[in-house]
């Protein structure tokens, strides 16, 4: 995307959002609160003022007051109280703009608050997608670290892979921490499924074709797919269809059986 396309989208998007919000506020003041003599321009300027008041109120409560006093425990109450402060701030701004009473201001605010809610919902769902993609990337990195530890174990044990993380820790050292998926906080399995081999056929890194085989994967999907670790130490993301195709491959038959038994 070039500079001018970016400019067009940024300016156009912001202008459209502000214009729609201003019209919603003007309609609320004019037709719900029945306050006469309010122009569309005044509706726009009051909407911008109310949005700034709401944003500053939310940010002060959520990121300064609650984050500083309660730390990580302040996230949820900070969001709730911050949203309440933002709504009261918007109502105050509308009341100051000439709506008279708090009840009239709240009534006038309804359409604009709905519009602001939609904008916030769209922004937070985009932010949620971004955070989930980041967690999936961190999880892939953790799988690659697991692959490096497995390769070291295999090197010291004639190609054989460890049965579990306890055996792996014995090689890596007592201070070694098994890499975990960031979405698996508090879960004992670490969010990853690791396959060391089936009974008489334990996995061996020296076997031909080992590089293509699946060694580990996410227990639960990240969005519409999941991360996998192959024998050559590469960690990559596969869509759920690609993952099922991989499981159906003959060289992954044992892995697929064990994975299905684990996730049944």
């Amino acid at each position: 995307m070039g500079f001018w396309t970016f400019t067009l989208l940024a300016v156009g998007g912001t202008a459209a959002a502000v214009l729609l919000g201003g019209v919603a506020l003007w309609a609320g003041v004019r037709f719900l609160a029945r306050v006469d003599g309010v122009s569309l321009g005044r509706g726009l300027s009051v909407y911008i003022f109310a949005a700034i008041v709401a944003f500053l109120g939310y940010a002060a409560v959520r990121y300064i007051l609650f984050a500083m006093v309660l730390g990580p425990y302040g996230a949820v109450p900070g969001r709730i109280v911050g949203a309440a402060v933002a709504v009261v701030g918007m109502a105050w701004a509308v009341k100051k703009a000439g709506c008279g009473t708090w009840a009239k201001a709240a009534l006038a605010l309804l359409p604009a608050a709905g519009h602001a809610g939609l904008v916030v919902w769209a922004a937070s769902s985009v932010a949620g997608d971004i955070r989930e993609a980041d967690r999936a990337a961190e999880c892939r990195h953790a799988l690659a670290e697991l692959g490096i530890a497995l390769a070291r174990y295999a090197e010291e044990h004639g190609g054989r892979l460890p049965e579990d993380s306890v055996a792996l820790r014995a090689t890596m050292g007592s201070d070694w921490v098994a890499p975990r998926c960031p979405s698996a906080a508090g879960r004992a399995d670490g969010g990853h499924f690791y396959f060391s081999g089936a009974g008489p056929k334990p996995l061996n890194a020296a076997e031909p074709g080992f590089a293509r085989r699946l060694v580990a994967c996410d227990l639960r999907p990240h969005g519409p797919g999941r991360n996998v670790l192959r024998g050559d130490g590469w960690a990559c993301w596969l869509s759920e269809d690609q993952f099922q195709t991989e499981l159906a491959a003959p060289h992954n038959a044992d892995f697929a059986r064990a994975f299905r038994a684990e996730t049944r």
């Binding site: 500079f3 940024a10 960690a235």
Partner: protein, 185 residues
């Protein structure tokens, strides 16, 4: 305010508004470009690589003797295998690594040095579409946040400065139209 003065003030406000808006947008765009490069690697593969060398280089801007104007850069060479052929990886971060302060660079060089001395592989991020496109640490240069943090308010200031003469002109035009309507066409 006399009409001439008011017109001059309007022109000054409009020109300053355009300048602030363009500068703010330029900052926003620069920040967005850095962030986009960082985000672009979110779906890349991760592969084990061997660290061959890692050094911390110090740069000074030309003509400056001050230590505070120095920037640091981690110069490293790693090697990994893609489809059976060895490939080099010399990029430290997705958005370029020459920056200040020194602390993040010290942390990165310590990690690379540890892997080089122990001979253990380090995970590197590899573009699955073009494996020669790769880097070691998926960390964004924080300058994008500063660019966007300054660019947004500057752009808004520019819009506000431009809006003042526009509103004045609209009011003048509206008043003229009302007078004209009152007098009759």
């Amino acid at each position: 305010m006399p009409v001439e003065n008011s017109r001059n003030v309007n022109i000054i406000l409009a020109v300053a508004g355009v300048a602030f808006l363009l500068f703010g947008l330029l900052l926003l765009y620069s920040g967005w470009e850095i962030w986009r490069d960082y985000r672009g690697s979110v779906s890349w593969d991760v592969a084990p690589a061997t660290v061959l060398s890692a050094e911390l280089e110090e740069h000074w801007s030309s003509g400056s003797e001050s230590r505070s104007s120095a920037t640091w850069e981690v110069v490293c060479t790693c090697r990994f295998e893609a489809d059976g052929r060895p490939l080099p990886c010399t990029r430290t971060t997705p958005t370029g690594d020459c920056s200040s302060p020194r602390e993040p660079h010290d942390r990165r060089i310590a990690i690379l040095d540890r892997h080089r001395k122990e001979g253990t592989p380090i995970p590197v991020w590899v573009n699955p579409a073009d494996p020669s496109d790769c880097f070691v640490f998926r960390e964004a240069n924080s300058v994008w946040a500063y660019f966007m943090g300054f660019g947004g308010p500057l752009g808004l200031l520019g819009c506000t400065l431009m809006a003042v003469p526009a509103v004045r002109a609209a009011r003048t035009g509206l008043a003229w139209w009302r007078r004209r309507r009152a007098r009759g066409w």
